[in-house]
Amino acid sequence: MIGAPIRTQGPAGNAGTIMDRSIPGRRASGFAPLDVPEVAVPELYARRTPPRLPEVAEIDLVRHYTGLSQRNYGLDTGFYPLGSCTMKYNPKVAEEVAALPGFRRIHPLQPDATVQGTLEVLWRLEEALCALTGMARATLQPPAGACGEMTGLLMMRAYHDDHGGRRTKVLIPDSAHGTNPASVRLAGFEVVGVPSDTRGLVDVAALAGLVDDQVVGLMLTNPNTLGLFEEEIERITELVHGVGGLVYYDGANLNAIMGHCRPGDMGFDIVHINTHKTFATPHGGGGPGAGPVGVVERLVPYLPSPVVTRTDSGFAWDHERPLSIGRLHGYNGNVGVLIRAYAYVFAHGADGLKSVSELASLNANYLASLVQEDFPLAYPGRPMHEFVATAKPLKDATQIRAMDIAKRIIDLGYHPSTVYFPLVVDEAMMVEPTETETKATLEGYAAALRQAAAEARTDPDLLRAAPLTTPVRRLDEARAARHLKLRW
């Protein structure tokens, strides 16, 4: 079964900006009458010309932004198998609880005694995250995974400063996400790449040659970016620990292993969790997320400040942490996202989370098996929650590229997978179906991929012209960068 075409309920072509609907003198906003004396800011500081914001009525706003939403594809619209992004169904109950006034209408700087409910939720979530990852304590402050990486690296820095002095090098596999090397540089360290072997795993012999007393640590996902479990993980963490380094677990792929194994038991010292991936908080077109970071006992003193603590009189923020790396966010992190994560974690429970990882892996393996003839796996071995296939054989035969396949998939009714990542695979197609998709959906997507591969041989121009059913067709990205138009 092929999915329905992408709907284009909004007007085709360009919708115009909200500014195009502006009519001088029209207005949506209103306030209660001013019941105190009018006092303006002194003339010296005053603005002379108002900003050019749209002058529109409420109905204009509703029609305009409803129309724009219809030019968007969300997870509720359909299948969204972006590899490494874990686009699973977002439970509606999590939205309802996070919107309760007791959670949503509290100020970040209220006295602790007035926010005991939220502090206890954060405390229990921290405990659950530590249980899930095998860590001793965690900070919930980082607002996203990349900030979690920065948090981990700054803790490594502080740890080494207290234990033998400054080191310089952070080891990162060549298949890592771009945030890893970017974070390393911002933390003031140098990136050293670790090659993959022919199985797509860390080349342990090469790693052994790279470790020395200048190694701050290693950053790794497991399963790795190819969806493969690093079977020699114990040897890998031993090698790094052997030279006094620390090992960082990038939680991008935590959805694969919940209830089956824990980073702490593999030898990792620091773990970040992308709650917006693993615990299904909606991605909002690019964020918000949350990137809690757990650590083993010896790194607890370095956690960002403050942390939630339990006292005789209830829960409180503990600011008295002399070795802490400090504050990573202006307030308490993305608390609203963390409440959704709490709902997900405790509603699923230990049994449910274990099942999530099993069915995520089942779905990925099943989908891989359905498309392997046209799109073989880039590396042998059984993938876990996601797989990386390659369109290289098809490209060699037809000149049709992974991007053309992706664009044709759009016309066939689906959001395509990630393409051209990881960088170590030619014509990569990285597919993560997640556990919340039905067998029929996977079969529909596989049929679409197979149809696109067949068309590459019979009607390649159809793929090069795709997509045809969307509000706009392929966009000129080079022109966008050359003739910058970034505002009205």
Binding site: S29, P51, H283, H329, A347, K407
Partner: protein, 437 residues
């Protein structure tokens, strides 16, 4: 609770198709030594109605702003959020989408972000903005990263900048090779190794700063001028671009976003076009498709971490797009006249509140000579924490306590939501707490 849709029959069929005997076999590649042996240490799952009851119970243990009349600010404010903001931002096509990597499927998100960038440029009087950062404090960190380099590593911070922001700068600065240096007054000593001068206007005490003096010194010394602003003030206060700011950053929460106990919020940033390639995060640009139809894409991606990796000037990936969508709709609701009226409402209600409170014996403004916008700092005749607690008992969130070199002060913020009746009751309660404790 479990949202996986599989039936037992389907699981059996799928296992058979991939040649596995059981679900457990899918984990065979994990070495036995690291397999989880015991239970996970989390209770087993519960139903939707149970998790709802559990979290509702916790929410009722908080005293929210329907129970406490809010005079707290410090960067996060109790402004009114019109119903349409989240009715629209909450549409699932926005809400459940990923980062717009496939532009043909993401014209909605991309266009809203283009409108957002446009509105932030209009507010600030600057030329380029982006698709949002995490919050105000991390936006300031990103602005400093833009400024530091080419032999300029010193970061001068006005004493009027929020200590939470300075603390955040200090944390990231340990990696970035800079440390904030706080200066008093409005004439920083800008030597050739100074990268930037940072001024908050209004400042942490709510006071209006002589911004042009600070920034004149910055520019004379060849450093970048960075202003921290309050977006709600920019209908009535001159925009950062006009005051000489090269980069302007803000906490964007007041723009249609709930207080949420500190997040999710959004960081705002705007700069001059010369600095566009130093800007962090995602930027949306307008272009055309192969038929010539206008459309939007993520542009200048060569700056970003997924392309430049360790050469990128920022590591940000996930940002706060949904909050930016809400901010865009909110600013559309306000319009230019609404933004100006909002500013006048805030300044008038704040002035009235300050008059009522400083009429109480022993209460005075901490910076009596400086004009303010919607927030002001009070010196109290009793310890601020005691006063705060006593006022919570009377139904008021009286403000945010702040330690200063001259002693503790209470920051009191007044938005357009605070009625004269609430302000009068607040002043009476404060008087009762201070005069007849």
């Amino acid at each position: 609770m479990n949202f996986a849709p599989h039936t037992d029959d389907e699981i059996a069929q799928m296992l058979s198709a991939i040649g596995a005997a059981s679900l457990d076999e899918l984990f065979d590649q994990i070495p036995q030594d690291v397999r989880l042996q015991g239970p996970l240490g989390i209770p087993n799952g519960i139903s939707e109605m149970e998790i709802m009851a559990d979290l509702r119970g916790y929410s009722l243990k908080n005293r929210d702003l329907d129970q406490l009349v809010c005079f707290a600010g410090g960067g996060a404010y109790d402004h009114y959020i019109p119903s349409l903001v989240w009715a629209l931002a909450g549409r699932s096509e926005f809400y459940t989408s990923y980062t717009p990597y496939q532009p043909e499927l993401s014209q909605g998100t991309l266009q809203v972000l283009f409108e957002f960038q446009s509105m932030i440029c209009e507010l600030t009087g600057l030329e380029v903005s982006n698709a949002s950062l995490y919050d105000g404090a991390t936006a300031l960190v990103e602005a400093v990263h833009m400024a530091v380099g080419a032999g300029r590593t010193r970061v001068l911070v006005s004493a009027g900048v929020d200590p939470r922001m300075i603390e955040t700068l200090r944390t990231y600065g340990r990696g970035g090779g800079f440390q904030p240096e706080v200066y008093a007054g409005s004439h920083p000593d800008v030597t050739p190794d100074v990268a930037c001068v940072i001024v908050a206007h209004p400042n942490v005490y709510g006071a209006l700063e002589p911004v042009r003096e600070h920034f004149g010194a910055a520019h004379d010394g060849g450093a970048r001028a960075i202003q921290i602003f309050d977006p709600m003030s920019l209908g009535v206060l001159a925009p950062p671009g006009e005051l000489g700011a090269d980069i302007a950053v803000a906490e964007g929460q007041p723009l249609g976003n709930f207080l949420n106990y500190g997040g999710p919020y959004l960081g705002l940033i705007a700069a001059r076009m010369d600095d566009v390639r130093r800007m962090p995060g995602r930027i949306v640009g307008e272009t055309v498709d192969i038929d010539g139809t206008p459309g939007y894409v993520l542009t200048l991606q060569a700056r970003e971490q997924h392309i430049r990796r360790d050469k990128a000037n920022s590591n940000i990936c996930t940002n706060q797009t949904l909050m930016a969508i809400a901010a865009t709709i909110y600013l559309g609701w306000l319009g230019p006249d609404g933004l100006c009226e909002l500013g006048l409402q805030c300044s008038s209600r704040a002035a009235y509140t300050a008059d009522q409170l400083t009429a109480i014996p022993g209460v005075s403004l901490a910076t009596p000579d400086a004009p303010f916008f919607k927030e002001f700092a009070l010196r109290l005749p009793r310890p601020t924490s005691e006063v705060l607690d006593a006022l919570v008992d009377r139904g008021f969130l009286a403000g945010v306590p702040l330690s200063t070199p001259e002693g503790d002060v209470l920051l009191v913020a007044v938005t357009e939501r605070r009625t004269r009746e609430e302000i009068d009751r607040f002043a009476q309660a404060m008087r009762a707490v201070l005069v007849n404790p």
